[in-house]
């Protein structure tokens, strides 16, 4: 089944609206993804968050300069470390985070 994706943009004042349209049977996103409007033969005007989800499918991840600097700092950080217990439940983990 062919999947054809169309993107267009339009400017209104200082805002730009991206419209994504797919014309195919196969959805572009997984079932868990709450962007149901990506389903076949549908279109939607993407908010920043929605469009980000779409663009990530098209583009490879990368680490930005600021993120790389932060990660390098954390590699040698003396931040205290906690060993998580085995068979840790979600409730216990969430409680630990907030402790």
């Amino acid at each position: 089944m062919n999947t054809h994706t169309q993107l267009s943009k339009s400017w209104t004042g200082q805002f730009v609206t991206f419209t994504v349209a797919t014309v195919a049977a196969a959805p572009l996103v997984s079932a868990e993804q709450p962007l149901g409007s990506f389903q076949a033969a549908s279109a939607y005007e993407a908010s920043t968050t929605q469009l980000k989800g779409f663009v990530h499918q098209q583009d490879e991840f990368f680490i930005s300069e600021s993120e790389s600097k932060d990660l390098l700092a954390r590699l040698d950080s003396d931040s205290p470390v906690t060993r998580l217990p085995d068979n840790l439940s979600e409730e216990a983990f969430l409680a630990f985070i907030q402790s």
């Binding site: 980000k52 991840f61 790389s68």
Partner: protein
Amino acid sequence: MSIKFDITDECKNDLKADPLLGKCLHKNYIAPIQSGKSVAELRGRFKPSWEVRVEGSMRDLFVQQARDRNLHHYHIGYRFYKSSSDQTYPGDVSDGIVHILVTTNQQTNETVHKLIKVCPHHNPFKLPIDRLVG
């Protein structure tokens, strides 16, 4: 080989930004591994961080350090998973990422995943608009 989890206070603080981060991290990473799954069996992509594109002046240092320290990252499914076409490192991807230092003690046959950072948004939002829109 058993895998133990260590978490830094810095990483713990990252998780306080949104309870869903902790839920995704536990559901898609900690719990499956503690139940006996290998990283290759996880839903998200687990990938060496020195094989990721790095932008900026810190690139060479970061790649060297990531390789020397065995830094990996895992897509935790925050807030949802998307499919990926990466053939070398399969697994679904998400905005939420956990950065992990992986160490293995050959004598005890124990591997430790030290969680050092959680990011709700892996990348700054950049639109490859010239490529997407002709």
